[in-house]
């Protein structure tokens, strides 16, 4: 078997990503065909920068889904090592490859002789699972606290703003070093924080539905009962974990357990992001509450929560959607930072930060194990930033 040239490597990579290209092609054809009927999303396709960003983001989303759900794209197992493949350059044929094995290490081998390419695409699955969800939770917390702080003002506002500034004054890495350690998981502090932080989405949705259907008690009660049952059970399953001090749910009722490392990473990322979202929502609320339609709703006799959630919140969606995209990128960067310092995720984890951290030790001799995940992370965050920029430009047009 001959080593592959750079052209052949590129060709093989194109072939490996075939499912992603097909999915991207379908998405873009459909979206462009129906762009006039798709609102803000459709308008994105009038904007070159937005389209490039959307393409980059969807590339990684589809890659992650293909890897995570169907095991496509992967050429080798991301955790297993092969003899004689240590620090090999991209395109090296695999020694002793069997019939079923892929014949090359497309992007070379790392210091433990694992396939760099497979680890990189598997890393996308780790990031895509954590980053958007963590950002969503941060938004739930930020919105649930930011709306009343801006709307009511006064002592509540001062207290919440002080707390938010307190967290923001912390250098993020110091906070991570304090929160994301095995000792801290042992004390259960991340679990207690999870109890508080995961309560916010339930609180948010309950208040949202209650405020809307308050006048139709029958309908509201059914909706709230279903919601509280489903979310409540999921909530209890998430926070109760036999490995932490918080364990109360019998194993038969416990739907799933989040591995301790992932939970603490998730909680600290939400914790770091929430104050910024809080400040943005608070600022927007302060601005919007002086509008006429808010005064009209107040005159109609609507309750404060109805006004906040159904009058003010929908009108903050433009800036919030843009910030959501940017913040997923920032969360991805934070996850990478955690991996870079070897915090939280297990050392063999294929996520990009951990891989960069392992690759950097031999960076000046064998750059490829660190460069590949670095470029992957860069392209995804760049995609999110370009997407946010495109969205901002398009939403400002009308």
């Amino acid at each position: 078997m001959e080593p592959l040239s750079w052209g052949q490597i590129a060709l093989q990579l194109l072939i490996r990503f075939l499912p992603v290209w097909i999915a991207l092609l379908v998405t873009f054809t459909l979206s462009i065909a129906f762009k006039r009927r798709l609102g803000l999303y459709g308008k994105l396709f009038d904007n070159t920068i937005g389209m490039v960003g959307f393409g980059l983001v969807m590339f990684w989303v589809y890659t992650a889904l293909a890897v995570g759900l169907f095991d496509w794209i992967l050429t080798h197992d991301p955790l297993s090592t092969a003899t004689g493949m240590k620090n090999k350059v991209p395109g090296t044929p695999m020694r002793g490859a069997g019939e079923d094995d892929f014949a090359w290490y497309l992007l070379g081998g790392d210091t433990l002789a694992r396939d760099v390419f497979s680890r990189m695409v598997e890393g996308a699955w780790v990031v895509i699972r954590i980053a958007p969800l963590a950002t969503l939770f941060a938004f739930m917390v930020g919105i649930t606290l930011g709306l009343p702080a801006g709307y009511f003002g006064g002592r509540l506002d001062s207290a919440l703003s002080f707390a938010a500034n307190l967290i923001l004054a912390f250098p993020v890495i110091l906070l991570f070093y304090l929160l994301v350690t095995p000792e801290m998981v042992q004390t259960g502090i991340p679990s207690y924080m999870a109890i508080v932080l995961f309560l916010f989405p339930i609180l948010f949705l309950t208040v949202l539905i209650n405020a809307r259907y308050r006048t139709q008690p029958a309908r509201r009660n059914v909706m709230l009962a279903v919601l509280l049952f489903v979310l409540g059970w999921a909530y209890l399953s998430v926070i109760s974990d036999p490995a932490t001090p918080v364990r109360f749910l019998p194993a038969a009722l416990d739907l799933f357990n989040v591995p301790g490392g992932i939970l603490v990473v998730f909680v600290s990322v939400v914790f770091v992001n929430a104050p910024t979202v809080f400040r943005i929502v608070r600022g927007l609320t302060l601005d919007i509450k002086t509008r006429d339609y808010v005064a009209a709703a107040q005159t109609r006799g609507e309750g404060p929560w109805y006004i906040m959630l159904w009058e003010i919140l929908p009108n903050t969606r433009g800036p919030l959607i843009v910030d959501f995209c940017l913040r997923i990128g920032y969360t991805t960067i934070l996850l990478g930072t955690l991996g870079f310092f070897g915090l939280g995720l297990p050392p063999e984890s294929p996520d990009w930060g951990t891989t960069i951290n392992q690759g950097r030790k031999l960076l000046s001799i064998y750059p490829h194990p660190a460069i590949v995940p670095a470029v992957a992370l860069l392209s995804m965050v760049l995609g999110l930033n370009l997407l946010a920029d495109g969205l901002r430009e398009e939403s400002l047009k009308d």
């Binding site: 920068i49 002080f162 500034n165 307190l166 923001l168 004054a169 912390f170 250098p171 993020v172 890495i173 110091l174 070093y177 304090l178 929160l179 000792e183 801290m184 042992q186 004390t187 502090i189 990128g329 960067i333 990478g336 930072t337 870079f340 310092f341 930060g353 960069i356 690759g359 950097r360 960076l363 000046s364 001799i365 064998y366 750059p367 660190a370 460069i371 670095a374 470029v375 992370l377 860069l378 965050v381 760049l382 999110l384 930033n385 370009l386 920029d389």
Partner: protein, 347 residues
């Protein structure tokens, strides 16, 4: 103005107190103390030995009392055992009779580092100087280039220059330090494939900083912050350029060059000033990453060492310093905003 300043300083002190208590609380949780006991005593201590070691060394008191001791508002603990008195303030130089009752931060005693076996104040001082040197060069590189990019992009909104410079600034904000650092080292310093223009480590730069060994770390930190400042400058410049008085000036026949330099620039630079100051917390992050990546032994490197080994006193010292840096820059940004903006200053 004075009242505003006093209130801000009051809030600042309160914030610093709260934050140092949080750090104190988190570093003094039982599992962390057990690690300290095993580090200081021996690693095969039984649970009872750990408890007695902690009791003998003043760790068994309630958390608020120990925080007070660290702060210097509660007398340091003393302990008499086998006729020998030990205590928080008692060191080989100061015996039980001459030792002061209080020895905390307020008395200038920051404690001792367990990892470096030195006084925290000395370590923080040395490391802070290293980091200050790095930050100075970062500021000198980042601020002018960001402002130039922003002004060039913002003075003709929507032009080709604007498009390409804006995309460039988006790209730099999307590149965290550990990514740009890795790429820059691979391209400019790698011995295998790279250009070999610069050095991949900055250890030598601590003694004698040259362009060759110091440029890469400075560039790595600057790049991440540069894009953000440039975008803010661009937005603010673009807004100013659409203002009435600029139109008037153009209609009067003032040259474009003069409009930008004499009329627009001053007003356009108010917003970026605040942003530059508020960048400090992020820059501190960058400093930690870059100092680890380039092995430059500054404050960020010391933070990683202290946190990794649960070196309580050193960690507290570094966090107080970094929190103070963040708070002071926030204060400066507020005051500066008031001074730069005539509308606020006069009213």
């Amino acid at each position: 103005m004075l009242l505003f300043l006093l209130r801000r300083v009051g809030v600042m002190i309160l914030t610093a107190l709260c934050l140092s208590f949080i750090v104190f609380f988190l570093t003094n949780l039982p599992p962390n103390l057990e690690k300290v006991a095993k580090f200081e005593g021996n690693s095969r201590m039984s649970d009872e030995e750990v408890v007695s070691w902690l009791a003998n060394n003043g760790f068994a008191q309630p958390m608020p009392v120990r925080f007070g001791e660290w702060l210097g508002v509660v007398p340091g603990w003393t302990n008499e055992r086998d006729g020998r008195i030990t205590g928080r303030c008692i060191t080989p130089e100061r015996t039980a009779e001459t030792a002061p009752r209080f020895c905390g931060v307020l008395q200038g005693q920051w404690g001792d580092s367990r990892v470096f076996r030195d006084e925290v104040s000395t370590i923080v001082g040395v490391r802070l100087w290293m980091t200050a040197k790095l930050m100075l060069w970062v500021m000198l590189l980042m601020v002018p280039s960001a402002l130039i990019i922003g002004v060039l992009a913002g003075m003709r909104e929507g032009s080709k220059t604007d498009r390409s410079l804006s995309t460039l600034s988006i790209a730099t904000t999307a590149t965290p330090e550990y990514v740009s650092g890795v790429i820059l080292i691979a391209v400019f310093a790698s011995s295998a494939v790279g250009l070999k223009w610069f050095k991949g480590t900055a250890t030598a730069a601590m003694e004698d900083a040259t362009f060759e060994n110091f440029f890469l770390p400075v560039l790595t930190i600057s790049l991440y912050g540069m894009g953000y400042i440039a975008r803010m400058t661009r937005a603010s410049m673009a807004e100013v350029m659409t203002a009435q008085y600029i139109r008037t000036a153009r209609l009067k026949g003032v040259s474009f060059r003069n409009i930008v330099l004499k009329h627009a620039l001053r007003n356009a630079l108010i917003a970026p000033f605040t942003v530059i100051m508020l960048q400090f917390p992020w820059l501190l992050n960058g400093v930690v990453v870059v100092e680890t990546l380039f092995n430059y032994k500054g404050l960020g490197w010391a933070l990683v060492q202290a946190a990794g080994n649960n070196d309580i006193d050193l960690l507290l010292g570094i966090s107080v310093v970094s929190v103070l840096v963040v708070l002071v820059t926030q204060l400066i940004s507020d005051i500066g905003y008031v001074y730069l903006n005539p509308r606020i200053r006069i009213s």
